[in-house]
C-alpha cells in the first residue's frame, strides 16, 4: 500500500493530513470526533458553539436531498443551527479531545450575537485547549438575525467581530464565509483587516430543494410549512471552487490561506480544492452520507496523485491551478475544435444527434439506416455538447481550425 507524507502546515498549525470534519453534526461530541480521529482524519472543526443565552431549538425533520436519476444526495439541504449541547458540555469535550489526541488538530467553531459573546467564546475555547478558532459568520438559517449569514454578508460587522475574537484569544483564526453573496472578496478582506489569519469557505447556500406537490409545501415539512435553508454536498462543489478562485485572484489575496469546503467526497475533489488554493479541506455531507471511512480513499488516492505528479510535499500543489483560470474576456477565441467520432466505439444511440439538433447547431448528420452520426463541419461550432452526452466516449477532440480571418498556428493550441 502506498505511503506518502500528507502533512501540511496551515496558519502555523501542523496537520498530519489536510482532511478535517467541517463544523456540523459530524463533529458534535467527543465520541464522534474520537472515531473520526481514529479513522484517520487529520483535524476536526467541532460543531459551532454559541453563547449560553442563545437557546437552540431545532425542527424535525430537518433534512432533504436532491436526486438525479438513480443518484441520491446530489445535493443536501439542512435546517440545523448550531450545537445543541450546553456550552459546558462542549468545552469539556474539547478539553478531553485535546488531551487524548494531542497530535491531531482541534478547531473550535464559535458564533456570538454581539462583541462580548465573541470575546468570551474565543477565550473559553482557547482555555479548553483548541489549536485554532473558526468564526461561523455564515449559517444561513439562524433564528436570530444577529447571527450567521446575516452577519457574514455585512463587511463592517465581520471586521468588528474578528477584532473581538482576537481580543479574546491569540490562537490562529479563520473566518468562515457565506456563499450567499455576489462577491466574497470585500467580506474576506474585512475579516483579514479585523485580524483573521485565513478564510474557511464555503458554508451552505440558501435553497429550496424540493416541494411536496400534493400538499404544495417545501421539503422537509415542519407542521405544514418549510423554510429556505442551507444546501451542501456534491452539487455545491463548482460554486465553492468558484469562490476559491475569486478570492485567490483578487489583488492582495494571491497567497490567502484557505480551508476549502463544499461537496468534497473523493480524492479528486480534494485535489481540485488544493490546486485552487486550499491548504486544508473540510467535509460534512460526504460524511453524513457515507461515514468517516471516506477519508481512507481520499488519503490513499491523494497519495497516488502526489506520486503521479512527482510531488513530495502537499503544499507544492496548493494554488497551482489558480493562474490557469482567467477572466472570460482573456480567453483565446481564434479557433474551434471539431469533434472526432469513432464509429467503432459508437453504439448508435443517437444522443449526440438529438442534443446537437435541439441544444446546439444542427451539425450532426444522422445516417438512419446505419444508425451512425457524422459531423457537418459547416454547421459545427465546436461546442462539444455531443461529446459530453455520448455514453461511450466515442466522441473526442479532433481537428483544430482557425476561425476565418484569424492568425496563428492551430497545432500550438492547447486543447
Amino acid at each position: 500500500m502506498i505511503n506518502k507524507d500528507l502533512s501540511i502546515d496551515f496558519l502555523g498549525v501542523h496537520f498530519e493530513n489536510p482532511f478535517c470534519l467541517s463544523s456540523s453534526p459530524v463533529g458534535n461530541c467527543y465520541d464522534m470526533c474520537k472515531k473520526a480521529y481514529d479513522t484517520g482524519w487529520g483535524g476536526v472543526v467541532f460543531k459551532t458553539i454559541g453563547p449560553e443565552h442563545f437557546v437552540v431549538d431545532e425542527v424535525s425533520p430537518r433534512f432533504d436531498i436532491l436526486d438525479k436519476e438513480s443518484t441520491p444526495f446530489v445535493g443536501f439541504k439542512n435546517m440545523e443551527q448550531i450545537a445543541e449541547h450546553t456550552l459546558e458540555e462542549n468545552l469539556a469535550d474539547l478539553k478531553r479531545l485535546k488531551e487524548d489526541y494531542p497530535d491531531k488538530v482541534l478547531i473550535a467553531s464559535i458564533m456570538g450575537t454581539n462583541e462580548e459573546d465573541w470575546v468570551e467564546l474565543a477565550r473559553l475555547v482557547t482555555e479548553a485547549g483548541s489549536d485554532m478558532i473558526e468564526m461561523n459568520l455564515s449559517c444561513p438559517q439562524m433564528t436570530s438575525h444577529e447571527m450567521g449569514s446575516d452577519v457574514g454578508t455585512n463587511a463592517e460587522l465581520c471586521k468588528k467581530y474578528c477584532q473581538a475574537v482576537k481580543r479574546g484569544s491569540d490562537l490562529p483564526m479563520m473566518a468562515k464565509m457565506t456563499p450567499n453573496v455576489t462577491d466574497m472578496v470585500p467580506i474576506a478582506k474585512a475579516c483579514l483587516e479585523g485580524g483573521a489569519d485565513g478564510i474557511a469557505t464555503i458554508n451552505t447556500i440558501k435553497s429550496v430543494a424540493n416541494l411536496d406537490l400534493n400538499r404544495k409545501i417545501g421539503l422537509p415539512v415542519v407542521n405544514g410549512k418549510s423554510a429556505i435553508s442551507g444546501y451542501s454536498g456534491k452539487a455545491v462543489k463548482p460554486i465553492a471552487l468558484r469562490f476559491l478562485q475569486q478570492l485567490r485572484s483578487a489583488e492582495g489575496l494571491e497567497n490567502l490561506p484557505i480551508s476549502g469546503i463544499g461537496g468534497i467526497e473523493t480524492w479528486e475533489d480534494a485535489a481540485e480544492f488544493i490546486l485552487l488554493g486550499s491548504s486544508t479541506l473540510q467535509v460534512t455531507t460526504g460524511v453524513m452520507q457515507y461515514g468517516y471511512r471516506i477519508v481512507e480513499d481520499m488519503k490513499n488516492g491523494l497519495m497516488h496523485y502526489m506520486e503521479e505528479q512527482g510531488v513530495d510535499h502537499l503544499e507544492e500543489l496548493v494554488g497551482l491551478a489558480n493562474p490557469n483560470i482567467i477572466p472570460t474576456e482573456n480567453l483565446d477565441r481564434d479557433y474551434k475544435v471539431y469533434p472526432e467520432i469513432d464509429h467503432e466505439k459508437c453504439i448508435g444511440c443517437g444522443r449526440c444527434y438529438i442534443s446537437c439538433y435541439d441544444g446546439a447547431h444542427q451539425a450532426i448528420i444522422w445516417d438512419e439506416k446505419e444508425r451512425k452520426p457524422y459531423c457537418d463541419k459547416d454547421s459545427c461550432v465546436g461546442c462539444h455538447l455531443c461529446s459530453l452526452v455520448c455514453p461511450v466516449g466515442a466522441i473526442t477532440k479532433g481537428e483544430v481550425v482557425l476561425k476565418p480571418g484569424r492568425t496563428g498556428n492551430p497545432a500550438d493550441k492547447i486543447i
Binding site: 500500500m1 502506498i2 438513480s70 443518484t71 467526497e265 473523493t266 480524492w267 479528486e268 457515507y290 471511512r293 471516506i294 481512507e296 480513499d297 481520499m298 490513499n300 488516492g301 497516488h304 455514453p391 461511450v392 466516449g393
Partner: protein, 411 residues
Amino acid sequence: MNEKYLEEAEIAYTINTVMEEAQRCLLCHDAPCSKACPAKTDPAKFIRSVRFRNFKGAAETIRENNAMGSICALVCPTEKYCQLGCSRCGIDKPIDIAGIQRFVTDFEQQLDMKILKKGEPNGKHIAIVGSGPAGLQAAASLLQKGYAVTIYEQAEKPGGYLRYGIPAYRLPDVIVDYEIDRIVELGANILCGAKVGQETSLSELKENFDAVLIAVGASEGKMLEMFADNPYTETAVDFLARVRDNQGDISLPNSALVIGGGDVAMDAATTLKVLGVESVTDVAYETFSEFLASKQELAGAQAKGVTIIDGYLPSKVSDKQVTFKHRHNQNELTITADLIILAVGQKVNAEELALPIEHNEVTFEGYQTSDPQVFVAGDIAKGDKTVVWAVQKGKEAAAEIDAMLGGKAND
C-alpha cells in the same frame, strides 16, 4: 488457432459502467461480502474505493491480498462466496463483485502497477513442487518476506489447471502469463519440465532447501474401470489440456458424449460446442436438483446447445456405444458418439512424494506433514477445491513455513 475458443466470453466493464455497478453497492456496515471470501479479500473495501474513484487504492486492496487477483476475478464461483451474502440481494440481485474486481485488475495491468514488493533477503530458500495457484500464491507470499523460492513444475508451462484445465474462453493465456510474470519478477525461479520424484527426489529437495511445499494438485482425471481400454475415451482434464495446448486447434469428432455433472463436465461439453462439434450430450449421475456444477456453468453449457440428461449411470460400453441406467427407475439409455469424455473427478498422483493421501487429500488437518520440513497446500490439502481456496491455502502454508523458520506470526 480457434478464434472462438480463445475469445473471452464475458464483456468487461468500462469506467462508466463500472461506476454504475459500484454505485449499486450499498456500502454495507460490516459487509457480508467481505466475510465470505475464502481468500479474505475485502470486496466491500475495493468496491468503496471504486465508488470514490480511487482505482489505484482498489488495486492495492486486491493485489496485496491475492497474487491471483486477476484470475480469481474471472474464475471464482462468486455465487457461492462473496456474492451469496450480498445485502443487495434483498433489493434485486447481488453486486457483480467479480466484474468489478476484473475492472480493477485490468486497470492495474494497464498501468503496470507494481504493488507487491520483494522482501529483504533473509538467506533462506524454499522449494515448491507444483506451479498451480497454491504454489504460485505461496511463492508470492514467501518472496515478500524475503525468502528465495524455486518452483518445480513437471509440465512444460507453469500454472497448473489455470494453464491446462480451465478453458481459454474463461481464462485467457495472457492473464495467466501476466499473473505468473509478476511472481517471476518478484524473484521466483520456476523450473518447468522438472517432475519431482524422477530426476529430483524429495530427499534431495529436503537437503538443498530450508523447507519444501508440495502443491501438486489433483492433476489426473479419474478413469472408470469399464472405459479403461476403450480407444474412444479420454478423461476431461486430458481433453481440456489437449485443446488448450493446441489453442483450440484439434481434429473434431462429429459427436461427443460427456459423462459427469460437475464444472469440469460443463467445461468439457461447452468447449466441444465452442469448437464446433455438432452434437454434444452430457449425461450426469446427479439429478438437476442435486447438480454439482455452478448455475453459471450449467446455463453456459445449455446456452451453447449442449444436451444435458440427468440421473443416469453408465452400465456398459462397447466401442462408441455407451448404455446408461437410470438411478431411480428401470429406464435405459443408449448413446453413440465418436468421442467419449469422462468427467468423473480428478485424482492426486503423489506416490513418489510419500504423502498420506485418502479421498484425494491428505489425511491430516493443516499444512505441515509429519516431516516438519515438508508442507502441503492447494487441492491436496483438506478443504474446498477451487482456485481461491488454493490461494488461501498457499498463503496459510507460507505463513506456517515462515513461522517455523523463525519469522514473526501475522506480520
